[in-house]
Symmetry: none
């Protein structure tokens, strides 16, 4: 069963972009351009998550958010605020109002998708794939457990996120910079080479004995989780 996403946004371009990409990810997408329409869409069926533009003509996103939280039917629906740069200071206010997360425009699709999935995993785990598998490696995001050939492995937080990130798109090569952004976050300043060290630690952790290494080093480019890994 696909998760239903309601996008409340007044920019037609952005709506189309989101609809296209979210549907490609398997979400059922509803859209609304203002508070009124949003109300109608919600009445038609409770969405599983709401993307809400901060600034909207008429009733502002923050006000909509407040109202959604006040109504019992929608009090627990996860909400992600879409805020424009420069409104970041409002962040605290936004979260205080009841939004569960926020992204700053212009945002990257992968980032938005990651946040949507993270929230859904928390509120409706059954809507999201919680287990990633490849070969004899298995990672369960609900229980935070990683197994290889059935045997449980212990990974530090960073190694865990790194593996999760790499396994998200097996075969795809990520540059060190991409890994830093995706795993460490865009706001931290860490040396590129640190990635090497953590890849090394991850390898040591997931390759006990002399099991084959699923992580491929691409000289001059970065790393990838081998899609053909068995």
């Amino acid at each position: 069963m696909n998760a239903r996403v309601l996008v409340v946004e007044d920019e037609a371009d952005l709506i189309e972009l989101l609809r296209y990409n979210l549907e490609a990810e398997g979400f059922a997408v509803d859209t609304a351009e203002d508070a009124e329409e949003a109300g109608v869409r919600i009445a038609e069926g409770r969405p599983d998550i709401i993307l809400l533009d901060w600034m909207l003509p008429g009733t502002s996103g923050i006000e909509i958010c407040r109202r959604l939280r006040a109504r019992e039917e929608t009090a627990t629906v996860p909400i992600i605020m879409l805020t424009a740069r420069g409104e970041e200071e409002e962040r605290v206010r936004g979260l205080a109002t009841g939004a569960d997360d926020y992204v700053v425009k212009p945002f990257s699709l992968p980032e938005l998708l990651a946040r949507i999935n993270a929230l859904l995993r928390r509120s409706n785990p059954h809507l999201v794939a919680t287990v990633l598998k490849a070969g004899d490696i298995e990672i369960d995001r609900t229980t935070h457990r990683v197994r290889r050939a059935g045997r449980e492995l212990h990974l530090g937080p960073t190694e865990y996120r790194l593996l999760e990130y790499l396994m998200g798109h097996p075969g795809r090569v990520y540059s060190r910079e991409q890994l830093l952004d995706g795993v460490w976050g865009t706001d931290v300043y860490v040396d590129d080479r640190t990635v090497d060290v953590h890849i090394g630690r991850l390898r040591k952790a997931i390759n006990p004995g002399r099991s084959s290494d699923p992580i491929r080093t691409v000289r001059g480019a970065g790393y990838s989780f081998d899609e053909k890994f068995k």
Copy 2:
């Protein structure tokens, strides 16, 4: 066998919300918009629990409640009153009338579900999972007793709820924030780290001697009750 819930409520939105969520929880849901219809539904088959709106057009919820209590077929059916904010003062009158519990709108679904389950557990224990077991730990939600290897343990209220919550989904990792929401309630503002303290107290209470610890700390993520705990 699923428990039958009768919802007596005149707001169509709320009815839909309740039907949707209660059915998702495995209840068989009947609805009625007024006293007359409620009578028909009850005649069709005795519900295991009734959710009753306080204010209804025509015969008020409180009056319906009184009548249900007067008839012997329905005298013992648990009733939860749905009251709007501001009617709280009426609480005592409501309970005196015979309702077993009440929730104030807007209520959170988890809270309502918890109360429904609590009442059913009292009236029809066989309809509800009453005992949670894992390894040699056993918690009886009817009596609020906790045993380890047959020996009874003493837990404070918060520790009890914490354990109950964690054991509800063994293996699942809950963040401190989730635990605060689920165990303390969404409206309390308590420091994240307080969870640590209570986890510590819970551990001390359920691990007498040097018995193994079923609670797993997931660094950077939260805690979980070990699903593989033996």
